[in-house]
């Protein structure tokens, strides 16, 4: 599986929130994106998840053009939003069952066991989500990304707010599924990214760089001068 993004642009009141971003991810690859706050990392993931619409950009999976808001694309995608929102009124089992049904994926007993073990909610399977700890909620939100065996997984700050036990479970799941998925992780945890990612990109002011040292321009001149440079193909 090869997921290619070309010339992705997102305009916001005339400014480029995402500026001509191109990259590709392959199967069995984990790509990390780091950068300062408001650099556009979460926006990039929201666009790739088909939530926010981009103004320009081509997306291809195995050479075939895809539209990020199409159902066909979304069936291949798992996305953990920043802050991991979740329906707190539901019970854990109901939430997992809801997501599986909406994903059109049968919820087998094996899958339920796996969900329980990776999210660490064995004892809380029939507990309302609002009664879970914030870390367990985030774990549950994380695990829904993998319910349907996605080909592309987009994780926005997956380790923030996790207890150490949950953090290791989440990491174990990411590494376990690595062979069958292309994973894109946005995180501020540089050490973790360095240790587990195959490539690390740096993002600033809506531009994606392969190397943190590439960012040499002062903020004021940044956007205009980059509009004249060729696409950052990584």
């Amino acid at each position: 599986m090869n997921f290619v993004v070309e010339n992705l642009c997102k305009l916001n009141n005339g400014n480029r929130s995402l500026d001509d971003i191109s990259f590709n991810i392959k199967n069995n690859e984990i790509i990390g994106i780091k950068g300062p706050s408001h650099a556009g990392k979460s926006l990039l993931l929201r666009v790739l998840a088909g939530i926010t619409q981009s103004d320009f950009g081509n997306y291809r999976i195995n050479g075939e053009s895809v539209y990020p808001r199409s159902q066909k694309y979304k069936k291949q995608l798992g996305y953990l939003p920043q802050d991991a929102p979740i329906y707190s009124d539901l019970k854990t089992s109901e939430y997992v069952s809801l997501i599986a049904t909406l994903r059109e994926f049968p919820l087998s007993s094996n899958l339920i066991d796996e969900v329980k073990s990776y999210s660490g909610i064995e004892k809380h399977w029939n507990t309302p989500i609002h009664a879970l700890s914030p870390s367990a909620k985030k774990c549950l939100s994380f695990i829904q990304c993998y319910l349907h065996n996605p080909k592309i997984v987009l994780l926005d700050s997956p380790f923030i707010g996790l207890e150490s036990e949950h953090k290791s479970r989440v990491l174990a799941k990411i590494l376990k599924e690595k062979h069958s998925t292309a994973t894109l992780i946005v995180s501020h945890d540089t050490e973790l990214l360095n240790r587990h990612c195959d490539k690390i990109f740096f993002m600033e002011d809506g531009n994606l760089f392969q190397n943190e040292n590439d960012v040499v321009l002062p903020r004021g001149d940044h956007i205009d001068s980059h509009l004249q440079t060729p696409t950052t193909t990584l």
Binding site: T52, K72, Y79, P85, D89, E94
Partner: protein
């Protein structure tokens, strides 16, 4: 279809788990029954029919239904759970239909209280069950419009209190727009056909046909077209607001 049914079931579950759903419905029927009995005073008027009761129900719906149904959208945006739905292979038309049908079903089930009242009245004399049926159909339609309007307004706001206030004001204005407009236009010399056209803009005008026992195709068309338009507007706007 499975996705729609699952979403609707989940929405209904969420409504039924919140205690305020029961309080709101209880206050709704109690206030309408109280108003009908003590303001309209059916025994003093020597006319025990449910026409005025249904008018009170429509008026109370303008306040009660936004309270009941609106936060399903405002909380989605405020808590960002809409991101969970938006990443799923799911159309927003399905989501907005489920969010609309769930409160409508709950409020429709509560019509059993009206039937209970009708049964009591029928013990005192001959009740026209045909008119009662057409009134219930009319109430269903008018409540559908109110739920959809309040949800459409809920899509635009994050703050629940402000959204609720705006929704109640807008719904009141829409429901009674014929009176507002006519009070203004009667200052000018306008023709009767134009007056009728203005009347027919209001949901209350059509609702009164139903509670009078007349089910007209024009009124059914009005409610169906308005509901469809509002539903599409919610689906489109909620997607735009992401």
């Amino acid at each position: 279809m499975t996705k729609f049914l699952t979403l609707t079931r989940t929405e209904i579950q969420q409504y039924l788990r919140r205690p305020d759903t029961y309080y709101i419905i209880a206050v709704f029927y109690f206030s309408c029954g109280f108003s009908w009995f003590y303001i309209y005073r059916p025994f003093a008027n020597h006319q025990l029919d449910l026409y005025e009761y249904f008018e009170f129900l429509a008026l109370a719906s303008c306040v009660v239904l936004p309270l009941l149904s609106q936060r399903s959208w405002t909380s989605e945006f405020r808590l960002r759970t809409i991101d969970v739905l938006a990443q799923l292979p799911l159309s927003f038309k399905t989501v907005s239909l489920a969010k609309f049908i769930a409160p409508l079903l709950i409020i429709s089930v509560s019509y059993s209280f009206i039937i209970l009242l009708a049964l009591q009245i029928s013990l005192l004399g001959d009740l026209d069950w045909g008119i009662l049926l057409s009134s219930l159909v009319g109430l269903f339609f008018v409540q559908a419009i109110i739920i959809l309007t309040s949800q459409l307004i809920g899509v635009f706001f994050r703050a629940p209190a402000r959204s609720l206030l705006v929704a109640i004001l807008v719904i009141m204005l829409i429901m009674y727009c014929d009176r507002v407009l006519l009070n203004f236009l009667l200052k000018f010399d306008i023709s009767e056909p134009l007056q009728n056209k203005i009347y027919s803009l209001s949901p209350m005008f059509h609702f009164k046909h139903f509670i009078g026992g007349f089910i007209e195709s024009q009124s059914i068309d009005y409610f169906l077209v308005s509901s469809y338009g509002l539903w599409v507007a919610i689906a489109t706007q909620s997607r735009k607001n992401l």
